[in-house]
Point group: C2
DNA sequence: CGGCGTTTCAAACAATCGTTTGAAGTCTAG
DNA sequence: CTAGACTTCAAACGATTGTTTGAAACGCCG
């Protein structure tokens, strides 16, 4: 590998793939559409990633490595400071995703790609995500268990399952609420995060 | 159209398509896979439905016509009897979907297909669903507005948006909770509905 | 400047895609 | 029993799919 040239090509492919996967799904976006959008040669995908499936995994890895790190970092800070509450722990989960969404170019579409992964029954993809990033959900679940000692394990898992659904759906912006014309993207998503934390905390507590 | 023969073929195609769309997505499931699973000739799809896109719409229509009717029927009964509460209105929305899921053969996968529709950015599909079944969500939203008069319109819509996400995700069974070995499918889904109503009511009320 | 990994490129691969065709088959009404 | 509408069928259409190929272009080091 060289230092300069392949960087741009790899990154351009990943960006275009992310966008098209969000818009048309993994099967719906062809490599020709991806390479055309990235303005690179068709063969570059197989040269840099080996196959379409590997490209899909790499699209996840590029974002999830840092997202997971930040989430766990915030969670650890809360636990260390003794500030853990339903609201702050939910915030630790949501805010890094929010910041990713607001990152210049492409961050917001990634949450849609992530939501698509839930819809896919594809066991390869689910195993990849579970093996590499499952520990994040595990740590958060442990934190919630401490904060909701009155709930037995089964009750807790039901509620967490529902909460993950609400978070996934909302962060992917699947809903009907549109950003108001005068409102910035940042303000819109911060509003969403605020309502999401409030709603989900109440549901967990209920 | 004849009375007997085409019925079986049409229905077999719809059933197989529903199952494969749930498993692999609309783009991921080919007509050859569908017709092979349905044990009919490849050309039968275009003969009976005209195109793949029309087949997709028909998969939705077959289930949503009755599902919407039952939901509105229950909602009207509640309003007429003066029994409307957050819990009963949520029940009116969820229970018909639950019954569909428990219907013999295929009902349970349809909720997964429906959830995929949310993930698709496809504007044709979204318009089709919004035009034909949007009034159901409208009626329920009006009912919730009456039950939550302390919330202004914007606050209410945020919460309903989040609630729809939680319901969609959960009914599609995207979560991590697996049915316990001793437990029947019916018992599992009834548990889910119970927790879903409890969680969502608390979130709306919060 | 010459040589050598690295990357890009146009072209082609077999396979599969949604759709169309026209003939063969099936059924019912007269 | 026959006429005619309806349905099924094998086969093929051109377009598009992911992937591979070998040569051309590139960039760096000696």
């Amino acid at each position: 590998m060289q230092h300069s040239a392949q960087f741009s090509t790899r990154q351009r492919i990943l960006g275009a793939a992310e966008e098209l996967f969000a818009e048309r799904g993994f099967a719906g976006a062809s490599l020709r559409q991806v390479t055309a959008a990235a303005k690179v040669n068709l063969a570059a995908v197989n040269y840099h990633f080996g196959s379409k499936d590997n490209l899909i995994e790499e699209v996840f890895r590029r974002r999830l490595d840092e997202l997971s790190r930040r989430r766990l970092e915030r969670l650890a800070q809360l636990e260390a400071a003794g500030n853990a509450s339903l609201e702050t722990v939910l915030d630790a989960f949501i805010t890094p995703a929010l910041e990713l969404s607001l990152d210049r170019k492409g961050g917001s579409v990634f949450m849609r790609v992530l939501a698509r992964a839930f819809a896919e029954h594809n066991s390869n993809l689910r195993n990849f995500l579970s093996e590499n990033y499952g520990h994040v959900l595990k740590d958060f679940a442990a934190s919630f268990a401490r904060l909701l000692p009155q709930l037995d394990k089964e009750e807790l898992y039901w509620r967490l399952d529902i909460a993950v659904g609400a978070l996934t759906y909302a962060m992917a912006d699947f809903g009907m609420i549109q950003r108001r014309s005068g409102e910035s993207e940042r303000a819109h998503r911060e509003q969403m995060a605020k309502h999401l934390i409030h709603f989900t905390a109440a549901g967990l507590r209920a």
